[in-house]
């Protein structure tokens, strides 16, 4: 009788033991999955933040840092080999049509210089007005060029690995662009590498403004790899082909950077009454080789840009003088004084510059001189028409 409880306990233990032995495999799976589900919940609720020596904080988990550290050397090696081969091919072997391209580029530079000179005056006027309104424009002051050395390895996460990191001045949430336009922003930054979150990732968001209508919206990546603005209601002014720029409202991207152009506009069936505006990015996001990380902005025009602006203004002045000289030498371009109806302006009579009206063919109440002077009119009285006069 005394041994009965002990026997029962032993039986339960043996049963438990056989249970765990029998269901060892599914129990292991359940345990591993449960641990990961809990880990997911913790990460989603409270992202891990590590502090850096200078007091700033950025979200890089230690595990992620280790994995990047394992993969990065191989990525750098592969990138070095591929860029060496490509460099050798492009610079030493594949040189066909180089002269033609060189000529075309020279022509384009000349054309762009002329355009730049034309825009210089507008830019100067714009800056003057901004100063009057005390508007704080953010100009790109410093950038760091970085090479793309790897990807996330899946099309479910649109992330690229850059070969520069914290030690090169990169920080999370810094804007990244190419000469064509914005491409994304930095996410996790480790000592020597950084993760670039592309525009078309589902977790990306940025404030944008439509260039001509000045309508503001929020740009987001979609799961099918497109980028969309889906917080705007239907508006007939929004047309495909309109340029999309950064608005500066997100405090990540400086204002006025090119994002892309509107590709299509369609009603969003899931979020009525909003529309799904698909934007075609200006930069080719699937072929990025080198990017510029914007590491600093300033409220004044950078020195190099000031030099360019001064040069453009000088060119514009030269062009204007040359045009005046040509106009003076070409008699056909001078105004025909015999046919001119205006009276030469004098300082004493500035109203003389007004053109004389041509004589009317059929007199009516709208003809010059037909309407009575305003001083003779009575409030509420009916104006007499010319036909009613005897």
């Amino acid at each position: 009788m005394v041994f009965a409880p002990l026997a029962g306990c032993a039986f339960v233990c043996l049963s438990m033991d056989s249970f765990f032995t029998r269901f060892r495999n599914p129990l292991t799976l359940i345990a591993i999955v449960l641990v990961q589900v809990l880990a997911l919940a913790i990460q989603v609720q409270k992202p891990v933040t590590t502090a850096t020596p200078n007091g700033e904080s950025h979200k890089v988990t230690l595990l992620r840092h280790w994995m990047l550290a394992v993969v990065t050397p191989f990525e750098k090696l592969a990138h070095g080999v591929s860029s060496g081969v490509r460099h050798g091919w492009n610079n030493y072997i594949d040189l066909r049509h180089e002269r033609e391209q060189d000529e075309q580029l020279r022509d384009e530079i000349a054309r762009l210089r002329t355009e730049q000179a034309q825009f210089a005056e507008d830019a100067r006027e714009g800056r003057r007005l901004q100063a009057l309104l005390a508007f704080k424009q953010q100009y790109v002051a410093t950038t760091v060029a970085a090479q793309v050395i790897g990807t996330s390895g899946t099309d479910r996460s649109r992330i690229l690995t850059l070969d520069k990191g914290y030690d090169d001045g990169l920080r999370p949430e810094q804007a990244v662009m190419t000469p064509d336009g914005v491409v994304g922003k930095l996410r996790d930054v480790s000592a020597h590498t950084a993760q670039l979150l592309l525009l078309n990732d589902v977790s990306f968001g940025a404030g944008v403004v439509l260039a001509s209508t000045r309508i503001r919206g929020i740009l987001r990546g979609a799961s099918n790899g497109t980028i969309q603005i889906n917080n705007l209601t239907a508006d007939s002014r929004i047309k495909p082909g309109e340029q999309v720029l950064t608005s500066g409202g997100d405090m990540v991207f400086p204002r006025g950077l090119t994002v892309g152009v509107i590709e299509s506009i369609a009603p969003d069936p899931q979020h009525q009454p909003y529309t799904a505006i698909v934007v075609k990015p200006a930069a080719n996001l699937s072929r990025l080789e080198e990017v510029l990380v914007i590491t600093g902005t300033q409220t004044t025009l950078p020195d190099a840009a000031q030099g360019d602006a001064a040069q453009a203004e000088a060119t514009a002045e030269t062009n204007k003088r040359a045009a005046d000289l040509v106009a003076e030498k070409l008699p056909g371009l001078k105004p025909d004084e015999k046919k001119d109806d205006t009276v030469p302006a004098t300082e004493a009579d500035p109203k003389a510059t007004l053109p004389k009206p041509k004589p009317v063919v059929h007199q009516d109440k709208y003809s010059p001189g037909a309407a009575p002077p305003a001083t003779s009119l009575q409030p509420g009285a009916q104006a007499a028409s010319p036909e009613a006069k005897p």
């Binding site: 599914p26 799976l29 591993i32 990961q36 990460q43 592969a78 591929s82 793309v148 690995t161």
Partner: protein, 174 residues
């Protein structure tokens, strides 16, 4: 002279691998997976780590080993994405478990069976990833694109067959 006798299908088809192969083969798959899409962006549709999980799981025939292998490879993949840790870890852990369990019942040396397994597991992983992202992470924007996932499964199957043949050379009979 030693005489081998096999009393069950499990003992007949169970294989082991050199530790270096166990570590380097999945690592190489992951490295290729992150480097190849940079040169050829459309290759991001591949899932070489998934192929490695399926291969090692069906070769070892151990559900626990399959689960652990799948989880570790998946967690490594998570580290390179912007997902929280566990998205690929859960999906590939479950795939490893099922693949090892199915390995008992199916002749995994047959190329047709291998093709069917890879195609099916690719689709299963797509569904699992969708469910994890949609319901565990509560991301309402994620969508399951059936045509794209079928294409992904077909391409992964095409890649898996020669890769399985290559990895067969590293098998060691236990």
């Amino acid at each position: 002279m030693a005489e081998h006798s096999y009393t069950s299908r499990r003992e007949l088809d169970q294989y082991a691998f050199h530790p270096a192969v166990t570590v380097l083969a999945p690592l190489l798959c992951i490295l290729l997976q992150v480097v190849l899409p940079k040169v050829f962006p459309r290759l991001a549709i591949f899932d070489l780590p998934l192929i490695a999980v399926i291969f090692f799981a069906v070769a070892r025939r151990s559900p626990i080993a399959g689960t652990i292998t799948g989880t570790l490879i998946g967690l490594f993949q998570d580290g390179l994405t912007n997902h929280p840790f566990g998205v690929f870890g859960i999906a590939k852990g479950i795939i490893g478990y099922i693949a090892a369990s199915i390995g008992f019942a199916v002749d995994v040396e047959n190329p047709i069976n291998r093709a069917v397994l890879n195609f099916a597991f690719s689709l299963v992983q797509s569904v699992l990833l969708f469910l994890i992202t949609r319901y565990l992470l509560a991301d309402a924007t994620v969508k399951l694109l059936p045509v794209h996932e079928l294409l992904r499964a077909a391409i992964n199957t095409a890649v898996a067959l020669p890769l399985f043949f290559l990895l067969d050379r590293f098998k060691l009979r236990e």
